[in-house]
């Protein structure tokens, strides 16, 4: 135990786990104060996350875009950049996937990968712009990506109305050949909306891990992310790495959009406000400590909580807003991880 507590990797995993538990504990206290039964509430919540095949299916469906949004945030973060623009990259990716999915007639084996690829490219371009501005003119990426979010929101809406409008604020639906949804997965999970996007998300997680940890490019990106001066001294092209990391990050965001376009919905609405998934990606990356495996687990937790909120409301009468409070608290505890580390270091000293 003593050794474990001094192990940095173990601590890195322990902090998010403790944060999640503390968040749930705080949620229970809030339920008690507001005269709800936490046992019943969490019972219903758990049931809504993994209680039935359909619940499992919906949880996995919800975590799919969260994984990709989390990867997008994490990838930029590893190169020392803060990509707040995942939401915008998701929207352009969503739109691009729907357009390709609707406008082309191709065999599935080509159509699905093509639509996914185009979504990634669209998101990549949306990340490239702030990357270029940062590298070339030192414009802070946070400002640019926030603005790019709004541009994406209104441009996609306008483009749907111009070219893809099916009425009732919706775009046309994609061709069957471009769809990620699956009869098999639906029947396995009592007709949930589960689709093959989870496979894409998991592959993307592996790709991120591989790029960052195994390739020379990833070595450069991490080096630039930690210490630009030393990277310059070592002869790396810092500007190019900034642009590259923002582009790849944006591509992950675009993929998240494709999951909605080709999987869950099969079309796109003229949105009046953001989906929030891109911003949730920040929380997912934070809780997942910017690692592939951590992001998958964090996305599962957040996806599950969001999916099961209505059931908790229905069964235990606990307002579903409590879930947002719990998620916020979890983020709070991760952000104040210093506190958790301090408590554990105290604990490990006492033990000697």
């Amino acid at each position: 135990m003593q050794k474990l507590l001094k192990n940095e990797k173990f601590m890195n995993a322990l902090v998010p786990i403790c944060s999640a538990l503390l968040g749930l504990l705080a949620g229970a206290i809030i339920m008690l104060i507001s005269n709800y039964d936490p046992v019943k509430g969490y019972g219903a919540l758990l049931d809504g996350i993994i209680g039935r095949p359909k619940a499992i299916g919906e949880t996995i469906r919800a975590m799919t875009p969260l994984i990709l949004a989390g990867l997008a945030v994490a990838f930029a973060y590893k190169a020392g950049l803060f990509n707040i623009g995942v939401e915008g990259q998701l929207l352009v990716g969503w739109f691009a996937s729907v357009w390709v999915g609707y406008a082309l007639k191709l065999p599935t084996i080509v159509h699905v990968p093509l639509a996914i690829l185009v979504a990634a490219i669209a998101g990549g371009i949306w990340g490239l712009v702030p990357g270029l501005l940062k590298a070339r003119f030192k414009v802070h990426e946070v400002i640019v990506t926030i603005m790019m979010n709004y541009i994406a929101l209104y441009i996609t809406g306008d483009l749907i109305k111009r070219y893809l409008y099916a009425g009732n604020e919706k775009s046309y639906s994609i061709q069957k050949s471009a769809s990620l949804s699956s009869q098999l997965l639906a029947s396995l999970t009592e007709n949930s909306r589960l689709h093959f996007g989870i496979v894409v998300a998991l592959i993307a997680a592996i790709i991120m891990w591989f790029i960052l940890e195994k390739t020379t490019k990833g070595y450069e990106l991490r080096s630039v992310g930690i210490n630009q001066h030393a990277s310059m001294y070592a002869g790396m092209n810092v500007s190019r790495n900034i642009v590259l990391s923002m582009t790849i990050s944006g591509a992950f965001g675009g993929l998240a959009g494709a999951m909605e376009g080709l999987g869950t919905f099969g079309n796109m609405n003229v949105l009046s406000s953001f989906t929030g998934t891109g911003f949730d990606g920040i929380a997912v990356a934070l809780l997942g400590a910017n690692t592939s495996i951590g992001i998958i687990l964090a996305a599962a937790l957040f996806g599950g909580l969001k999916t099961a909120a209505p059931e908790m409301n229905f069964v235990a009468r606990v307002p579903s807003e409590l879930i947002d409070i719990i998620i916020s608290l979890i983020i709070f505890f991760v952000a104040s991880s210093y506190l958790i580390r301090w408590i554990f270091s105290r604990f490990s000293k006492e033990g000697e």
């Binding site: 020379t216 450069e220 991490r222 210490n227 310059m232 001294y233 002869g235 490990s348 000293k349």
Partner: protein
């Protein structure tokens, strides 16, 4: 009762190590007492115990003969113990007065009485000959002056015993002289000083007695006037130390680095290097001597490609490398030990292994078709760690976890291992202890003997004089003279560094 501070048999443990093992330090009133030890010997721990930042496991502390328990720095302040930290704790855009009163503001009805404080500080400053302007902003005054503000801070709080933690590390030679005067003045006024250092010269010059600690143990307390630097070094390191860098006569061959009419602008667009000529030949060490800020940094940055040259040429083995990208220059055969190892030399959160391949990670065998080969990276790291005696738990340890000397050894291992035609060493021993300095100097000489060209840039005059085969004096961005270290002395170099001319004949 003649001791103002007594720390008897202090023991302080941290998980896994004993930082102080039965150390006794006794300081007499009115003396400058040196605390000497290598990096990591336990000096800072002992002082932090005295200053109340750590609680000792065993031992007693007496101030003016009274046993005391110092539970936090406020208690230390009340007992008249003040610390002048190595890294200054000052608010950059506050005035001197505001910084000094911070935390103990003289107030009247909730309002700070700045005028009264300013007057008090001015009086203190005059009394101790500090010449500090209480109304100046910290960001506008020199490093040496900032240190005096730190000294004033302790005096303002009524310190009787001042602890100086490596006070000369950041100072120019001139500022060091002034600091020594200030310390002597403080003693005259009845204060006592504990000087933490590993610079033997300073101890010999200013201290009365010296307590040596090594690896957490108190070794001895000696009277400085009865000892000599060699004896002190031996006590500190635990073996005989050579100060004289042992080296054969240089065998210089063809020019490797050839700089002509070089002009480099600094960040404010003022020429920092201004028409500089310099040649370094294979098989010799050329040392650049100069006061900080005379273009040394910009010169190195221009050679290594980190800064663009405005005009002039830089040739390496006859080929122009002027304004090439850093990577091209590195590949053409330049090794660079940078002056700031944390900023430029290492990616601190990378492992030692990852740092060892910082410039070569994309080359075989460390990488093949874009995929890193960690096995060969860590193999290389392991062999270099052994060859250069880098003390680290393993090649997987983050560079951050190593001591300064071992971080520097890792950088030198990396740079030397690439077998560069030209090795640039900028302040290679800054902040390091005697053992590490000895090692680094011998490596530089070893490289020279292998027929490489070595360019040494240092603010330490001793280092330049001991290691170099030729000394080029830089002043206002130009090489003003080149002297033979055997035929010169500190006075002459100091004069040249200040822009004076060498007296070719006569005089004394």
């Amino acid at each position: 009762m003649d001791y103002v501070i007594e720390m008897n048999n202090i023991r302080k443990e941290f998980p896994g190590i004993v930082a102080n093992d039965n150390i006794t330090l006794q300081v007499k009133k009115g003396e400058i007492h040196a605390l000497l030890g290598e990096n990591g010997a336990g000096k800072s721990t002992l002082m932090n115990v005295l200053f109340g930042l750590y609680q000792p496991e065993k031992g007693e502390i007496k101030v003016k003969g009274q046993p005391v328990k110092i539970t936090d720095p406020n208690v230390a302040n009340r007992l008249g113990i003040g610390m002048v930290h190595q890294h200054f704790m000052l608010v950059q855009n506050f005035t001197v007065t505001e910084n000094i009163i911070l935390g103990s503001e003289p107030t009247a009805k909730g309002k700070i009485n700045i005028a009264k404080a300013t007057k008090e500080i001015e009086e203190l400053s005059n009394r101790y000959g500090l010449a500090v302007d209480p109304n100046a902003k910290i960001e506008d005054i020199s490093v040496g002056m900032q240190q005096r503000v730190e000294i004033l801070k302790t005096l303002f709080r009524g310190a009787e015993i001042l602890i100086f933690d490596e006070p000369t590390a950041a100072l120019t030679p001139q500022e060091i002289k002034e600091l020594i005067q200030i310390m002597k003045k403080l003693i005259q006024e009845g204060k006592s000083i504990i000087l933490i250092t590993h610079k033997l010269k300073e101890i010999m010059e200013v201290c009365d007695r010296c307590t040596v600690i090594r690896k957490g143990k108190g070794i001895d307390t000696v009277i400085v006037s009865e000892t000599n630097p060699n004896e002190l070094a031996a006590l500190m390191v635990g073996r005989e130390v050579d100060f004289e860098v042992v080296k054969k006569e240089p065998q210089p061959k063809d020019p490797v680095l050839d700089i002509r009419e070089l002009v480099v602008l600094d960040p404010r667009n003022i020429p920092a290097v201004n028409g500089l000529d310099l040649t370094v030949r294979a098989g010799e060490i050329v040392g650049i001597a100069g006061v900080d800020g005379n273009g040394q940094t910009e010169l190195i940055e221009a050679i290594t490609g980190l800064r663009k040259a405005k005009s002039g040429t830089i040739h390496l083995n006859g080929r122009s490398i002027t304004n090439l990208p850093v990577r091209k220059i590195t590949e053409s055969g330049i090794g660079h030990i940078p002056q700031d190892r944390h900023k430029h030399g290492l990616v601190l959160d990378f492992s030692i292994g990852e740092n060892i391949v910082l410039q070569t990670y994309y080359q075989k065998p460390y990488s093949k078709s874009g995929i890193l080969n960690y096995k060969s990276i860590y193999q290389k790291a392991k062999s270099l760690i052994k060859e250069f005696d880098v003390r680290t738990p393993s090649e997987y340890t983050p560079a951050r976890a190593l001591s300064g000397g071992n971080q520097q050894k890792a950088i030198i291992a990396r740079e030397v291992d690439r077998s560069p035609e030209l090795l640039i060493a900028a302040q290679p021993t800054r902040g390091l202890d005697v053992g590490a300095i000895e090692f680094i100097h011998s490596k530089l000489v070893e490289e020279r003997d292998k027929g490489r060209a070595v360019l040494l840039v240092s603010l330490e005059l001793d280092e330049v004089m001991n290691v170099s085969d030729r000394i080029a004096v830089i002043y206002e961005g130009k090489i003003v003279d080149i002297v033979n270290p055997k035929e010169t002395n500190e006075q002459e170099l100091g004069l040249l560094m200040a822009g004076g001319k060498r007296e070719r004949e006569g005089g004394s």
